[in-house]
């Protein structure tokens, strides 16, 4: 019996000769906020992307909301509709307005009618704080605004899980807060969130659990407090010492 909404069991992934995910196992409960940190190349993005099958794993199993990802009978598109993803590079659709970005997948995947999709889109734009930008195109928005639209776009599908892949890494410092605020808000509503990020403030404030990865392996897994104050592994200590000096 699994109460877990994500189960990752002994997963391996190779990119050519590089062992990107090395026997990774992880479980996530519904409503949990998990932050994954680690040096570049540690496999954290790969792990995240394998949860919605943007990366196919070579061994092991990933079960999302009770559905095994690698089974032939699995409708991966249906699973992806339940797992929202926010990218470092925003990846908004430049030929569509903010409103259309948020409404499109609702119409063609969730099969909502245009009016309902638009209503929800406007609600979400309100929620992320930029209702006035409904008809603006991504090219006319700042980075922070674009990322908030991207979050709204993912939320419009009413997903059960939200994945954040370094959502603020491509933003100018003054815009990081507006995006983190939206993410904090979301965490408070009980959304299951997995975030790969370097924003330790956010991790402290929102995460129930933190995971440190290095060389494709999960090195340490504990609460933010414990990770920052009493990391058990040398590698964790080393990494934290490099990024926590402020």
């Amino acid at each position: 019996m699994s109460e877990k909404i994500i189960e990752i069991k002994h997963v391996h992934k190779w990119f050519g000769r590089t062992h990107a995910l090395d026997d990774v196992s992880l479980e996530v409960a519904p409503g949990e906020v998990l932050v994954i940190i680690g040096p570049s190349g540690s496999g954290k993005s790969t792990l995240l992307r394998s949860i919605n099958h943007l990366e196919a794993i070579n061994a092991g199993e990933i079960i999302v909301d009770g559905i095994p990802l690698t089974h032939k009978s699995t409708d991966i598109n249906a699973v992806r509709a339940e797992v929202g993803m926010v990218f470092q590079q925003f990846n908004l659709f430049p030929h569509l307005s903010a409103l259309e970005n948020i409404a499109l997948a609702q119409r063609i995947v969730r099969k909502r009618d245009a009016a309902a999709a638009e209503r929800k889109a406007r609600e979400l734009l309100e929620r992320v704080g930029i209702p006035e930008k409904a008809h603006a195109y991504p090219g006319q928005l700042s980075g922070g605004q674009q990322q908030r639209v991207a979050i709204a776009r993912a939320l419009a599908m009413d997903p059960k899980i939200m994945l954040f892949d370094e959502p603020t890494s491509a933003l100018d410092p003054e815009m990081i807060k507006e995006v983190l605020d939206v993410m904090l808000d979301l965490a408070k509503t009980g959304m299951t969130m997995l975030c790969v990020t370097h924003e330790m403030g956010f991790a402290r404030a929102a995460a129930q659990r933190m995971v440190f990865m290095d060389f494709g392996k999960i090195v340490e897994e504990t609460t933010p407090e414990l990770l920052f104050t009493a990391p058990r592994h040398e590698r964790t200590k080393l990494f934290l010492s490099k990024i926590l000096e402020h």
């Binding site: 943007l54 929202g84 030929h95």
Partner: protein, 285 residues
């Protein structure tokens, strides 16, 4: 002392000169415009002031112009369709599909368009004849259908161009699709869209904007290559020219007119293509 030389009209807008407005209006006429006007002017002057033979020539050629345009435009529509599906096939992850598409592109591009046209007009009917005869005993319905299949010269021309140019258009679409950042497809798929939905709503619309310049270019190239159908007994502009020369021996006058008309047509369509590109760029911002 009175000024004997009038000073030049003031270019200073504040001095109330009207020249800036004139200059701005004049600048709208770029090199293209000048060439286009020159060509049209030459034709007009020739037809008006030397009606014999130029007016005669023009009237005789006009039917050919209609044929040239029809063949070009109809072929181009089919070429776009082949190009789009070909491009999608080329980027497909199904190796059989992308392999076949690559094969098509390599073979077709390796043979001159003229030779393809000749093949479809002369060789294909014989092939169909032989296949028809061969299957007549075993599968009479199929065999008979093959034997009855006849390609008119227009159809042959359009099929030929579609087949030959489709390969080049496939490559254009492929390049356009691949130029769209992977993140776009990833974002679309992560929202639950299928591969085809993502292509249709996200990737292709963007790719189309990217490939407008080469597509416009292909149209103009096709317009010029359409002159090849004169080999196929299609009375296009070139063939009409040759027919007229055969009767009157006015090679210089006739072929000069033919050349000027082609020039006017290509300049016209190049301009339209540029205008469409500009509008798309503005919309997308």
């Amino acid at each position: 002392m009175p000024t004997l030389v009038r000073s030049a009209p003031s270019l200073d807008p504040e001095a109330g000169g009207s020249l800036p407005a004139l200059r701005r209006w004049w600048r709208r006429f770029d090199r293209w415009w000048l060439l286009f006007l020159a060509a049209v002017l030459v034709v007009a002057l020739l037809v008006l002031f030397v009606p014999d033979p130029y007016r005669r020539i023009l009237l005789f050629l006009l039917d050919g112009v209609v044929v040239t345009l029809r063949v070009t435009i109809v072929s181009f529509l089919f070429i776009l369709i082949v190009g789009m599906f070909g491009g999608l096939a080329r980027v497909s992850s199904a190796r059989l599909v992308s392999g076949l598409a690559s094969l098509y592109v390599e073979i077709v591009r390796g043979i001159p368009v003229l030779v393809w046209l000749l093949w479809i007009w002369f060789a294909l009917p014989q092939l169909l004849e032989r296949l028809g005869q061969a299957t007549l005993t075993a599968l009479p319905a199929v065999g008979q259908w093959l034997l009855d299949l006849k390609l008119g010269e227009y159809t042959a021309a359009i099929v030929g161009f579609t087949f030959a140019y489709g390969a080049y258009m496939t490559e254009i679409f492929r390049a356009g699709i691949q130029s769209i950042p992977k993140g776009q497809m990833e974002a679309a798929r992560s929202l639950g869209m299928s591969y085809l939905q993502a292509m249709r709503y996200i990737v292709l619309p963007q790719a189309v904007r990217v490939i407008l310049p080469p597509v416009g270019n292909e149209f103009v190239t096709l317009l010029k290559d359409s002159s090849l159908v004169s080999i196929l007994a299609v009375s296009d502009l070139t063939r009409r020219g040759r027919e007229f020369v055969a009767r009157t021996f006015l090679s210089f006058d006739t072929f000069t007119m033919v050349a000027l008309i082609y020039l006017i047509l290509t300049l016209f369509f190049t301009r339209i293509s540029t205008a469409v590109e500009r509008r798309m760029a503005v919309e997308k911002r």
